[in-house]
Symmetry: C2
Subunit: 321 residues, 2 copies
């Protein structure tokens, strides 16, 4: 690989954007490109750079998979509408839940989401669009973790069901490849994205499904979605790098109205980190931890127990699965 | 029920002991009694009162079930030997693990331990001893929780496989029934028990099996036993009411030497409480929580993640299952 990381101290956001826009224009020429916007920082920045370079020749899809935050699809489409970027909202919730049915192994769940996203939903959209260029938000941490074996190797064309041996002309473009999260946020700000987007805490690819241990059903996603809303409300002002709620599969004993109640457990994680490669636990005040426990066990039906992760990365990871 | 609680402010430990000794002497007369010593405060106090009243006419068994703390059976036998109380150590580890094999439901596991203890092991010992009197460490919190439906109703004679309809003469004696934990500790001190026994944090009836979510195997008990040792070492000086380690069945992603490692999670709980009926979370310093996580993930093979419970009782309970 001859591409290198651009370290923060050498990053000039305006210049970086100009370079990427120029490069995309040269590569795509008068062709068509597509990309999938997830609402995260990386794909939001890619969408903005892509539209600045290609305008209407870039078609952007937002795929609603049923495993996102409360109101997320509509929110993201609206944010980009204000920036004059048209995003097509594709409802594919049923396809995702059908693929996840009965799966409990984390790798199988991840694979089901990946396959449904790429091969079934996005793959179909790419082929129908006639585009031969795909914009993707791969960043430098992804590259490193793939090399290190922490993440699985990705070949996006194969994932789209496009046989790279047989089909000529498909090209993957990665406009934020040389940056890590902080750099991407700086570029996002320079692109005019609102702070709520460019400063957004990272969110995993498999969305809330990554926060459900065990089978991912509509009901269980709803539990972790409610807990996520509370955690995000309470920890918004913490200044932490990332914070999340995980629904465990293990049940624990609780008490309701003096009676034994075998219920669910939510694990809260809150991280201090610069680049997600290593991370330490945020030393939240106990008042805040107790409030989180009190709200989650009161407002989320079925949850009787809340824990707080106290393990650094490594040996932990940011997400649970 | 015409027996009433003796509140702390009315408790005179010396007088209480004298009353119980007198009562046991009157009831048992020249008969034989047996009891099972678990090493917890309640059964230790019952053993001391029983021996003071009955001497060699009380036979005390310690049943090693394989799901206890490191070195526990030998330690307890030794403590009582110093107090001139003979305790017979019965090795029944194989019987307990055989009964637990394949079980994951907490009620079924609890039932398997109860049945193995009472019907199989202790029931056999009681019958062989020829005793008709059983001393048991039931306390006032047990009574209340049984009435409230938090704990299951216990009929010890039926549990011993003794049909109370058919057999006449068996009698259960409960010398600490009218006391809660703090009162029992005061009585234990007055009886001359060492502080490490009378001030011991409570330990659940099903021992470490109550701290294993999912199947209870020798290997999984060994994991939670190691974590328990670390938690007890680190939190001994915390002044907390109780502290414990729970092995989860859910696996979470971790990292070892830069590679993905799907491993186990330990949940630590540490409680402030007077009577175990309600409890709040001990606000441990983060330095201590991080040290616990660091030690457990380093010293206990397979564990990649440690959490700390932040939910009060209620809606949580002290133990997880």
């Amino acid at each position: 690989m001859n591409v290198k990381e651009i370290p923060l101290e050498k990053l000039n956001a305006e210049q970086y954007i100009a370079d990427q826009v120029k490069s995309l224009k040269q590569t795509v020429g008068s062709g068509l490109a597509v990309n999938a916007l997830s609402g995260g920082v990386d794909s939001s920045v890619v969408t903005m750079i892509g539209h600045r370079a290609l305008g209407a020749r870039l078609k952007t899809f937002f795929i609603a998979n049923g495993i996102m935050r409360e109101g997320e699809p509509e929110y993201i489409v609206k944010v980009f509408k204000k920036l004059n970027v048209k995003v097509e909202l594709v409802h594919a919730e049923n396809e995702f839940f059908a693929a996840l049915k009965g799966l409990t192994d984390p790798e199988e769940k991840r694979e089901a989401i990946t396959q449904t996203f790429y091969k079934k939903v996005f793959g179909r959209l790419v082929k129908e669009s006639g585009a031969k260029y795909l914009l993707q938000g791969t960043n430098w941490t992804d590259v490193e973790e793939t090399v290190a074996g922490v993440k699985r190797q990705h070949n996006i064309l194969a994932q789209l069901g496009i046989d790279t041996q047989a089909v000529f002309g498909y090209k993957v473009l990665e406009p934020v490849l040389q940056l890590r999260k902080t750099g991407i946020r700086m570029v996002g700000k320079a692109l005019g994205l609102p702070e709520e987007i460019y400063a957004r805490p990272p969110f995993p690819g498999p969305a809330l499904a990554a926060r459900v241990i065990g089978e991912v059903t509509r009901e269980r996603v709803e539990v972790v979605r409610k807990a996520t809303t509370i955690v995000e409300q309470e920890l918004k002002g913490s200044g932490a790098f990332q914070y999340l709620a995980i629904l465990h599969n293990d049940k624990v004993t609780g008490m309701r109205n003096g009676k034994r109640d075998f219920g669910q457990q939510i694990e809260v994680r809150c991280w201090e980190s610069k680049d997600a490669i290593t991370a330490t636990v945020t030393r939240l005040p106990f008042e805040k931890l107790e409030k989180l426990a009190q709200r989650i066990t009161t407002e989320v039906p079925g949850v009787v127990s809340v824990t707080y992760n106290v393990t650094a990365k490594p040996p932990s990871t940011i997400e649970a699965i």
